[in-house]
């Protein structure tokens, strides 16, 4: 079709006009784009630069190596060993199951290990390395490392894990570490970012727990550049972590091992203290357990066995357990009486087998009575009636005050879990806690360490050390931290008259060495090693009239949990005390038969710093002693071989 020139003219002018309008529109839009670009890149540049850096830079914590723990001679009790493990990042593999199967062909993996690995892979983020095999041998790790190119997402790693080369011997003293739990975080007020690391190991019990701050060290940091999926591209800078402080304990490993071996088979505790310094050279509690099990992650079955055991292996009986001290308390009553001047050492009190008071009979352990007793004899034969009389003369407040001076009824500050304060009752205490008035019968019971009185083996050892020296011996478990010696505390004179102490010590010597003494059967014949001591048998309950009627008189007729506790406290050498010991055998029966032999063996071992010499025993006992000592599970402390786990 042919168009008129006018039409062509008009259409061209419309096109030009509209073209310019459209061009204008495009210019406006372009201007908006330029302004937006300026807004983002100039006005907000700083903010976005920061965001870009935050995107890119990740700060990773470098966990410090945990401080080691040594015994007084520098033997390692808790250390860090290299732990070879294999980790898998889920995001880097297409088929994790195939990789797991490939790994299982290279290294030994049980069905549980595999299930555990699958579970972890499912639960954790796709980007974090999940440990699929732990505690590998160097050979196994090498196997994986060599085959790594064929195993996508797999990384062989070396980490540090806690190890306790002395095993069960230090289960209660050193304790163990474990992964920090939500409960730990809620309980402790600690802002340390290390605790936010999943599965970071912290001290759970014992010194590991109490000395956590010193042992943990300080976290380091490293700044890494990560890509969008979180993979580390390179390291930008690093601030090294600071290893935790090394801690040296006062315990002597050779003696500790002997004590644990000697206590094995019983539910018992023993504490050995250096009477000059207060150093705790051994703290035994049996049965024990292997703390390494807890570090590796204890199985439900093993844990069930520990918690279900009626001998309570997890409890540290030496400091947590409190027992009526029984006759081992009589020195306290004696010293209270002597100091108050209500009795003279030579004054004799007649024991007729019981004391009748307010129409109630308080029996002596010896039915027929001991006859006329002076102080020395009353200790030697452990006459109860003598102390009933003393209690009436001196009163509970004096007895209680004396007990406190000797370290009972107070919590000693040693870094172990759940250190018990025991109980030393007063009239006010009973009013407050039992809402009843103190009666004279309470004093009588307390005078022989029964009734309300409770003490831990640690407290009894401190008491014995204080009697042996007349000084306020204060227990010390930590010898040094990071090479800095822990200052000795206490040691000042108790202000007790030396003559009084001599009388009491004489009684204790008689117990352990003289014919008729309750501990004479366990005497030491080597004069330089002789000990002084006191037996104790504390009733868990009274034998009821009904039982008496059924003919139950003896302990061995009762079920285990209702038998008497056997106790023994002592110090040696008798004439120049060096060590004090306290032994408690739970439900062990008589102190002289169950606790005293253990105390004697421990005292000999402590004094000779090795196995007790047979020559120290009465010749008639040597054959039996030789065979029983030979059966003990003793190992050379210099032997690097890990000990067998004790039952």
């Amino acid at each position: 079709m042919k168009r008129s020139a006018k039409d062509v003219e008009e259409s061209a002018s419309i096109l030009s006009r509209r073209g310019l309008i459209l061009g204008g529109g495009m210019s406006v839009m372009t201007g908006i784009l330029a302004l937006r670009m300026r807004h983002l890149q100039v006005n907000q540049a700083d903010q976005f630069r920061l965001l870009a850096e935050e995107n890119r830079i990740n700060i990773r914590l470098l966990p410090p190596a945990r401080g080691q723990i040594f015994d007084r001679n520098g033997l390692m009790l808790a250390g860090n060993e290299q732990n070879y493990r294999v980790t898998l990042v889920r995001d880097e593999v297409d088929d994790p199951e195939a990789v797991l199967q490939a790994i299982a062909r290279l290294i030994p993996m049980t069905r549980e290990d595999m299930d555990h690995a699958r579970e972890e892979l499912r639960k954790r983020s796709r980007l974090v390395p999940v440990t699929i095999a732990d505690r590998l041998s160097w050979e196994d790790l090498s196997q994986v490392a060599v085959n790594a190119p064929a195993l996508p997402g797999i990384t062989p790693e070396v980490g540090l894990s806690r190890t306790y080369p002395r095993g069960a011997d230090y289960a209660h003293i050193v304790g163990y570490v474990g992964p920090v739990s939500d409960y730990d975080l809620s309980r402790i007020d600690d802002k340390d970012p290390l605790l936010q690391i999943p599965k970071f190991q912290i001290g759970k019990t014992g010194s590991e727990n109490k000395l956590e701050r010193a042992l943990r060290g300080k976290a380091g940091t490293k700044r890494v550049e990560v890509n969008a999926i979180g993979r580390v591209m390179r390291e930008l800078g690093r601030d090294e972590s600071q290893k935790g402080a090394n801690v040296q304990l006062t315990i002597d490993t050779r003696l500790q091992n002997f004590v644990q071996a000697r206590l094995a088979g019983e539910s018992a505790a023993a504490v050995v203290i250096d009477v000059e310094t207060g150093d705790l050279v051994s703290i035994g509690s049996a049965p024990a357990f292997d703390p390494n099990l807890f570090v590796r992650g204890i199985s439900v079955k093993d844990y069930g066995e520990l918690t279900g055991n009626k001998y309570r292996p997890l409890a540290n009986k030496a400091v947590q357990g409190t027992y009526p001290p029984g006759s081992t308390f009589k020195m306290v009553t004696a010293l209270a009486g002597l100091e108050a001047g209500v009795i003279a050492p030579d004054e004799k009190i007649r024991c007729g087998g019981y004391t009748e008071l307010a129409s109630r009979r308080f029996h002596c352990w010896k039915r027929g009575g001991h006859g006329r007793m002076n102080l020395r004899d009353s200790l030697k034969q452990s006459c109860d009636v003598y102390y009933y009389e003393l209690a009436q003369r001196v009163g509970i407040e004096n007895i209680s005050a004396m007990a406190r001076r000797l370290g009972l009824g107070m919590r000693h500050d040693v870094p172990m879990s759940a250190v018990a304060g025991g109980l030393m009752p007063t009239k006010a205490w009973k009013k407050e806690n039992r809402d009843k008035d103190w009666v004279i019968g309470d004093s009588l019971n307390a005078s022989i360490g029964q009734g309300f009185v409770l003490a831990s083996p640690l407290q009894l050892a401190v008491m014995t050390a204080r009697i042996a020296t007349g000084r306020s011996v204060t227990p010390r478990l930590v010898k040094s931290v990071d090479g800095v010696e822990t200052p000795l505390e206490g040691g000042e004179p108790l202000g007790l008259d030396e003559e009084m102490l001599r009388q009491v010590r004489g009684g204790m010597f008689a117990v352990a060495n003289e014919g008729g003494g309750t501990g004479a059967a366990t005497r030491i014949v080597d004069k330089s090693l002789r000990m002084a001591g006191k037996t104790g048998t504390s009733q868990v309950r009274n034998i009821t009239k009904a039982e008496r009627a059924r003919g139950v008189f003896r302990n061995s007729d009762l079920p285990w949990e209702r038998r008497d506790h056997a106790l023994y406290v002592g110090y040696a050498p008798a004439d120049a005390p060096k060590y004090a010991v306290a032994v408690v055998v739970e439900h062990g029966g008589g102190g002289s038969t169950a606790a005293a032999p253990i105390a004697r063996d421990i005292m000999l071992a402590a004094q000779v710093d090795g196995m007790p010499p047979l020559s120290a025993y009465p010749s008639s006992q040597r054959g039996r002693i030789r065979s029983s000592l030979g059966k003990l599970n003793i190992w050379d402390p210099d032997d690097p071989r890990p000990p067998e786990t004790q039952a």
Binding site: I14, L15, F48, A52
Partner: protein, 379 residues
């Protein structure tokens, strides 16, 4: 026929046509493509593969094709406009039935030697066809309803087919490109007012339909709209693209972080860093100055197109050139708006810079048409 009106003798012939090409546009396009090569080299971590080298080859092929098309007389192009349009609609239908699905959307046909995206081709053939239509239709009838409905159908058909693929970005580009030609040709204002009003109604209908049985868009398209409106609502999920893109742009500052020093792209925080989001890498590494420079290059191309169009006395050639300029503008404006958080992420590449075969070749073919119009302009 109207081409007989031209004084054919004054139009260059033979190889002398090459001298009459719009050389400034060619130089500008080459400069823009070179920026693309530079950026593709950078996002590959300083490597020609996998992106920079194939892109260079395609650019060479595209340039050759552009010059070939430029040699074709513009009146011939006008005569085949209808056929070209019909062919591309058929190809769109073919995608519907034989197309392969890439990235969840069915968009291309595998021709063996290259993957053809008919939707790309349609952007050009639609412009051609509409330009030819308005060249043919009488200027007096132009605003009569019947003569308005015809181009609307011409636009709506490929729009519908691309929307079905689904490719919202191309669909909208077709609408804007086609609408632009209608506007330029002189269709009455009232129609545009009505369409804008209708579009507003449609948008509200789209939002209203969400979650109902007659839902108009796919869920992922709704999510893109959501994150466009508030990218912070889901910074690690759907809003991730926009958030990271803005961080990259913003952290560039005035002068940028230096060539190949952009942490956002190097560490893969940027999604689609070699295709739709390549502008963010440029802005991160060369800053505001780099971004504005590229924008200026685009604007210059546009200026030359508009000058060429307005100085061309042939109505078809003029409309075609304006249409191609408009399409080119829509490409870079939508892409930049998208990466700067001004528009939803609709999947429009940055022209001549983003990695991608058919987009670049089709764009260069379009500039071949523009060159042909320029070379064969009445003198």
């Amino acid at each position: 026929m109207s081409y007989l009106a031209y004084n054919v003798k004054s139009v260059p012939s033979g190889f002398s046509k090459v001298l009459h090409l719009n050389w400034p546009v060619i130089v500008l396009l080459s400069a823009i493509a070179s920026v693309g090569f530079l950026m593709l080299y950078s996002v590959a971590g300083g490597s020609m593969s996998p992106w920079a080298e194939p892109q260079m080859k395609r650019f060479a092929v595209g340039m050759f094709l552009m010059i070939c098309v430029a040699m074709v007389p513009v009146w011939f192009l006008r005569n085949i406009a209808g056929v070209a349009y019909g062919l591309s609609v058929l190809l769109l239908l073919a995608v519907e039935f034989f197309g392969a699905t890439g990235m969840g959307a069915q968009r291309w046909i595998d021709l063996g030697f290259m993957r053809l995206q008919p939707s790309e081709l349609t952007k050009i053939t639609l412009i051609m066809f509409l330009a030819a239509y308005y060249d043919w239709v009488d200027i007096k009838k132009i605003s009569r309803p019947i003569w308005v409905i015809i181009p609307v159908v011409i636009i709506a058909l490929p729009m519908y087919l691309t929307l079905r693929q689904p490719d919202l970005g191309t669909s909208l580009l077709l609408a804007f490109g086609g609408g632009g030609i209608m506007f330029l040709a002189g269709v009455h204002w009232a129609y545009f007012a009505a369409v804008i009003g209708g579009a507003a109604g449609l948008v509200s209908a789209v939002f209203e339909s969400r979650g109902t049985t007659w839902q108009l868009l796919k869920d992922y398209q709704y999510r893109r709209i959501d994150t466009f409106i508030d990218p912070a609502s889901d910074p690690l999920g759907a809003g991730y693209h926009i958030t990271q893109s803005k961080i990259a742009l913003g952290s560039g500052g005035w002068t940028g972080r230096g060539y190949m020093q952009g942490t956002q792209s190097r560490l893969n925080f940027l999604p689609e860093k070699h295709t739709d989001f390549i502008f963010t890498t440029l802005a991160e590494e060369f800053g505001f100055i780099g971004g504005i420079s590229l924008l200026s290059l685009y604007v210059l191309v546009l200026v030359f197109c508009v000058i060429s169009a307005l100085s061309n006395k042939n109505r078809f050639a003029s409309l075609l050139t304006m249409g191609i300029g408009l399409t080119f503008f829509l490409f870079f404006a939508v892409n930049m708006s998208m990466v700067m958080g001004l528009a939803p992420v609709v999947g429009v590449p940055l022209p001549m810079v983003s990695y991608g075969g058919s987009a670049m070749i089709v764009l260069l073919l379009a500039f071949g048409l523009m060159q042909s119009a320029h070379v064969h302009r009445p003198r």
